[in-house]
Amino acid sequence: MASYDDIQQSSNAASVIPQDGEIPRLFHFDLPRLKQTHQVFPELTSISAITNVLDVASGAGEWAISAAQASPELHIIGIERDPRLVEQARAQAEEQGVKNVTFQVMEPFAQLSLDADSFDLVNARYLVGLLPAEAWPQALQEFLRVTRSGGILRLTETDLPIANTPAFAQWCDLVSQAFLRSGLSFSPEGRLFSITPMLKPFLRQVGCQQIQQVASTCNFSAGWPAHEEVVRDLTRTYQLLQPFLVKSTGKSPQEIEQLYQQTCSEMLSAKFSATAFSLTVYGKKA
């Protein structure tokens, strides 16, 4: 197992510090299964009609590169606001010799400089926190515009991971409360994000048809296959979240840093037991 220092080092190397308390994408709970099964869209019975895929807010290309590797017949375009992340994604794809993925700098939650009806599938994953709660319908409307008729709009979100250790729980509570106060949450009181029950109604609202919901789970307890990868991801993304938490909770940078350090060391303890449910909701454009 990797030591805490190893994980810190590799995460620092891979991170771009968000500007002005901006929120990074926090979760990648779909990646361990994607890497293990090489199934990009495990919920779809056939992917023969899918070639052109858009990955919204592609970050450092985490999903897009893995998906492109798993399915060489796909052509994936990732769009991302932060040019430094786009550079990272390009470098990563290059380094791994993945040819069927490209990345563009583009604001993902505004009008997209992409043609209408141009993608077979638009994938948007773990966006909660990246845009205000009330901005979701308009963003989804725009994702659907660039989806071809009969194509698929696919959303994956989590309401927050669950673990058996106190600092982890306190950290999640802080994040949930901060999201609520910042207008990013769908919860009436901040227990969880309450994003997953909203996804189907959102797709219905923008006019999708044949909407389906599929749950998945990622067990990242100590000793489980996904543990090391998920802990590395959370160690990195939770680190990047610190400025936002300082800004939105009234706690001092020292308090946040201390809770972060405790959370990270708990995740590496042998007794750490944790899971995250994700919900994938997808529908067809008429």
Binding site: A169, S273, F277
Partner: protein, 294 residues
């Protein structure tokens, strides 16, 4: 109204161990079976056809146990529960359905299970996170592994109950979770999650199971969805039934407070914008054989 006094009675039925609880458990059990996609939706055809004997721990009024006996006429299905009332009710349902391959007996899951080693092909435990004290889980799982034959399966189904956009429903969960913390039913140190989903796989592994796997399922109880009415029953009815638990756990001060929450819950769960999903996790593992141990 029944008292909630588990340390005295060693009976952790939160909902009161009453006739209304039996009816409630039968209904919600059927809904969960449907939402999960069957009685053993995660098990391969090969496992299902090889079953000869199955144990259901904490079977309550026997909803899953009876449905198993009906679906698998060649399988002997045993149910055990702490409550004589539940077992009488389950037995009368078995009698009424002319089922002779189902067997119920009273027994406390906190004691050693009253069966010899290697008796069953599969031992099941469904939604007992609200009745088995946290401290007793490791021992109970070990007992389930003991009574299953090598290569047999131990299966645990747990709920994280739900996530919603209703203040009353989220408040009900907060109160329930606070109560669970106070009486020793919580599996995680927070008042936001029931936590069973985070730990049941580890419990199975720590009890000696190999090839531990997990499968999630959901029940969408939002307005207009198939399970809307089930969700309403699940939470509005159970909120009325949990009164003794809420009062004795001290998470609520008065019946009036509970009544107000219940009225609010009825309103919000009937609202045109009500959205909520119940998350369920099935975890299962095999008792090692000499070969799988190596």
């Amino acid at each position: 109204m029944t008292e909630y006094n588990p340390s005295e009675s060693r009976n952790f039925y939160i909902l009161g161990d009453s006739h209304s609880e039996m009816v409630h458990l039968i209904d919600s059990g059927r809904d969960f079976t449907r939402a999960m996609g069957g009685l053993l939706p995660e098990q391969s055809e090969e496992v299902q056809t090889s079953l000869r004997s199955v144990l259901d721990v904490g079977c309550g009024p026997g909803e899953w146990t009876l449905a198993m006996a009906q679906a698998f006429p060649d399988v002997q299905v045993h149910g055990i529960d702490i409550s004589q009332g539940m077992i009488d009710y389950a037995s009368s349902l078995a009698h009424a359905s002319n089922l002779d391959n189902v067997h119920f007996r009273v027994g406390n899951a906190l004691d050693p299970l009253p069966f010899p080693d290697n008796s069953f092909d599969l031992a099941n435990m469904r939604q007992l996170e609200g009745v088995i004290p946290t401290a007793s889980w490791p021992q109970l799982l070990k007992e389930m592994v003991r009574v299953v034959r090598p290569g047999g399966i131990v299966r645990v189904v747990g709920n994280e109950w739900c996530v919603s956009n209703s203040l009353a429903l989220e408040t009900m969960h907060r109160l329930m979770l606070r109560g669970w913390q106070r009486v020793g039913l919580a599996h995680v140190p927070d008042e936001r999650n029931y936590g069973i989903a985070a730990v049941q796989g580890s419990y199975l592994r720590d009890a000696g199971c190999v090839n531990v796997q997990e499968r999630p399922s959901i029940m969408d109880i939002s307005i207009g969805e198939y399970f809307q009415q089930s969700g309403y029953q699940l939470f509005v009815v159970s909120l009325a039934l949990v009164e003794p638990f809420f009062l004795s756990a001290g998470v609520m001060n008065s019946k009036e407070e509970l009544l107000r929450l219940q009225q609010q819950l009825e309103i919000e769960m009937s609202d045109k914008d009500f959205k909520s999903i119940v998350y369920t996790l099935t975890s299962w593992g095999e008792k090692p054989t000499d070969t799988t141990l190596q």
